[in-house]
């Protein structure tokens, strides 16, 4: 297939792998973080770890949108659906994220709450138009990629004067999370980042420049295809070898330095920065998430229904926090694969195949049996 086959070519992959093996200095370790869940998924699904020399190690970062949602945020949505009888719409895997009291949106749905899985914000708008007598709330989650469609929906709802539509805004920002990882006291043992793909098509490569300039960590933006990831790893190894730290762009077919200015304007028109937002694993991170601007307050479910956010601690045994910060591997969590499985996730990293635990469980756990 055009635009896909050429990025999944086995021979090319072997070439790049040989270059990585040849150029990585045997005496040192290369600890590279792929920020994005999409990369985590590609690495696992194509078994890329097998193509890398043992001293080049990939560390999964916090870039899976359902993994970073704290329990309290899901609780909020469940409360809305159960206590205020709203139709709660959300994307895909979000319905499986564990919440308090052994609930998830899916379990709340089985218990009678009106929870609907949608594919786009347009579906949520349609549900609101079709059910004028009901309140429809869209649980809006995700990084910079999913934010513009939410902004479009809000503008449309405002233009139509849709009175029964609002959003629970949990949109978060990539660069803020990367800062949070690097600002950890005592520093983190990371040699570079594979930068996000889809996110970067929106925000461009410029927002990553401080990581290279101030923290001296190289960033290579890469697409989600396996060869993109391999090529980005090679570029990172080269930067590390040269002692350089720059933002490089492997994904030039989609990403520019400035990004999609139109989408950025749209988002800026509808949203503003939250002072702080709690992330699962990273704690409260300043200026790391968005909320609706005051002129769109009528569409803000938090204000409309007065559902306050209540922070809830993670399960004690769960190591999601350390995993999302890149400090531990899934198999180092005591309950990995026993108590916590994709069927019964205890932590959020076990929910989506972009989460580090689920990716390792679903694709890579044969490695431990060898």
């Amino acid at each position: 297939m055009k635009y896909v086959d050429e990025f999944r070519d086995g021979d090319l992959a072997k070439n790049i792998a040989a270059n990585i093996a040849g150029e990585a200095h045997a005496g040192r370790a290369y600890r590279l973080m792929e920020f994005c869940g999409g990369h985590t998924h590609a690495i696992s699904r194509y078994g890329l770890a097998d193509l890398l020399p043992p001293n080049v190690r990939m560390i999964h970062g916090p870039g899976c949108p359902v993994c970073v949602l704290p329990i309290g945020r899901i609780d909020q949505a469940i409360r809305l659906a159960r206590e205020q009888d709203v139709i709660l719409c959300t994307y895909a895997d979000t319905v499986r994220v564990p919440a308090s009291a052994n609930l998830s949106l899916m379990r709340a749905k089985a218990g009678g709450a009106d929870v609907r899985m949608i594919y786009s914000t347009q579906d949520a708008l349609k549900i609101a138009r079709d059910n004028p007598q009901r309140e429809v709330v869209f649980l809006a989650i995700g990084f910079e990629t999913t934010t513009p469609p939410t902004a479009v929906a809000i503008r449309q709802a405002a233009a139509e004067g849709l009175k029964n539509f609002s959003i629970l805004c949990d949109h978060v920002l990539t660069p803020a999370a990367m800062h949070a990882i690097l600002a950890v006291e005592g520093g983190v043992a990371l040699d570079g980042f594979v930068g996000p793909a889809h996110v970067s098509t929106v925000i461009g490569s410029k927002p990553y420049e401080p990581f290279a300039d101030d923290y001296h960590k190289p960033v290579v933006i890469a697409g989600f295809e396996p060869l993109d990831v391999m090529q980005a790893i090679l570029m990172l190894v080269r930067q590390v070898n040269d002692g350089r730290a720059a933002v490089e762009n492997e994904f030039t077919r989609a990403v520019t330095r400035e990004g999609n200015l139109k989408a950025q304007e749209l988002v800026a028109e509808v949203f503003e920065l939250r002072d702080a937002f709690e992330w699962r694993g990273l704690g409260s991170v300043p200026h790391s998430a968005l909320k609706l601007r005051p002129q769109f307050a009528a569409f803000d479910a938090e204000q409309k229904f007065k559902v306050d956010y209540v922070a809830v601690p993670d399960n004690k045994a769960c190591e999601c926090a350390a995993i999302l910060r890149g400090q531990k591997r899934p198999q180092e969590c005591k309950i990995f694969g026993t108590v916590c499985t994709p069927e019964n996730p205890v932590g959020s990293c076990m929910v989506s195949s972009e989460g580090a635990c689920a990716a390792h469980y679903s694709y890579g756990r044969f490695r431990e049996t060898a």
Binding site: H41, G47, L51, D93, M230, T341, S352, G364
Partner: protein, 349 residues
């Protein structure tokens, strides 16, 4: 002149009529629906007996029975509809046991308000599928549920067949070293449904592969090869089917991604929605496992049949206490092809 009128004088309005509660009441309206729609379409000597059950002739061999409920949205899709699907699905379930399918039953749950024209289309499609397969629908049932309590039509079909002596196919027969064969491309049915439901359009439309496979299976059995396992990878896709077999047989498997055919539009649609074709449903494909020495002969027999044209050896059975189904990827890496956790859901970002 006969002046005694039949119980119902006006024919069913198959153009504008709708299912109503009386069609499930057991009264005259139901008798009319059965006579004018179901019995007329399925028409065969057993159904014509008109009793609560069908009296069938004695059959030689061990009996196989399989049942399957069909819940599809949309009801009509590129390459088929819920009607032919419900016939093919059950015939295949019987046939992969190594049996010759003989009879089907069909049970309908109709939603009040469902257009009779659509029902007629579905029933005609079932009748045609059953005739083409040579497997008559010999008995059935109809119920009507109130509006909002169904999804148009649900169809449950049950099939009966006989297995000739000497044939024993079962999911627990796979042995280390055996070859795994697949009859063609994967993901066509599931993506035909999904792309239609989501309103996705591609330059080449995705067409369901729904088909009755008993002909292909007969050809495979006739080749003289000793088959160990046959199964049709429907819901849950190829990955789920192989995991089921691995668990039943207590073995592992190693697949080769490059040998598994995925049609280009299916691959594109999967890409767009963030789905893995290995987990997408098929309705006209089968997986076969045989001893390594038999693989070439079996492959040739499959390829000689129209439904097995694209057959390929896609992997081997391994001894593995963990029962992992693994795959060497196109990139040369390795991964587990795991059970699906819940439903396969599209990617968010």
């Amino acid at each position: 002149m006969n002046t005694v009128k039949p119980n119902y004088t006006r024919a069913l309005d198959l153009k504008h009529g709708r299912v109503d509660m009386s069609h499930g009441s057991g009264g005259r309206a139901m008798a009319q629906l059965i006579a004018e729609l179901f019995a007329a379409a399925f028409d065969n000597e057993y159904l014509a007996q008109g009793n609560d059950g069908a009296l069938l002739p004695q059959a030689q061999g061990r009996l196989v029975m399989a049942t399957d409920s069909h819940v599809v949205s949309p009801l009509f899709f590129a390459g088929g509809d819920i009607g032919c699907l419900s016939v093919h699905g059950t015939i295949n379930d019987v046939a992969v046991m190594g049996a010759k399918p003989l009879y089907l039953s069909a049970s309908f749950i109709l939603e009040e308000g469902f257009p009779l024209a659509d029902l007629n289309r579905i029933v005609e499609s079932m009748a045609q599928a059953a005739r083409a397969a040579g497997v008559p629908i010999v008995t059935g049932d109809t119920k009507v549920v109130e509006q909002g309590k169904g999804d148009g039509v649900f169809i449950t079909t049950t099939g009966v067949g006989v297995v000739p002596d000497g044939i024993h196919l079962s999911g627990d027969q796979a042995r280390p070293g055996d070859k795994i064969l697949l009859s063609g491309s994967i993901g066509d049915h599931g993506m035909a449904i999904l792309s239609q439901r989501e309103g996705l359009t591609f330059s080449a439309p995705i067409v369901s592969d729904t088909a009755a496979l008993h002909g292909l299976i007969a050809a495979m059995l006739d080749s003289g090869v000793r088959l160990r396992v046959l199964r049709d990878p429907t819901r849950g896709g190829l990955a789920t089917t192989l995991n089921e077999i691995a668990r039943q047989s207590g073995v592992g498997m190693m697949l080769h991604e490059s040998a598994i055919k995925v049609n280009q539009p299916v691959e594109a649609a999967c890409e767009l929605l963030g789905l893995d074709p290995l987990y997408v449903a098929n309705e006209g494909k089968l997986v076969a496992i045989c001893a390594p020495a038999d693989a070439d002969r079996l492959l040739a027999a499959m390829r000689a049949h129209p439904f097995g044209r694209d057959a390929a050896v896609i992997g081997e059975v391994l001894a593995d206490a963990h029962g992992f189904v693994q795959m060497t990827t196109r990139l040369g890496g390795r991964r587990v092809v795991d059970w699906l956790a819940g439903e396969q859901l599209p990617r968010i970002c």
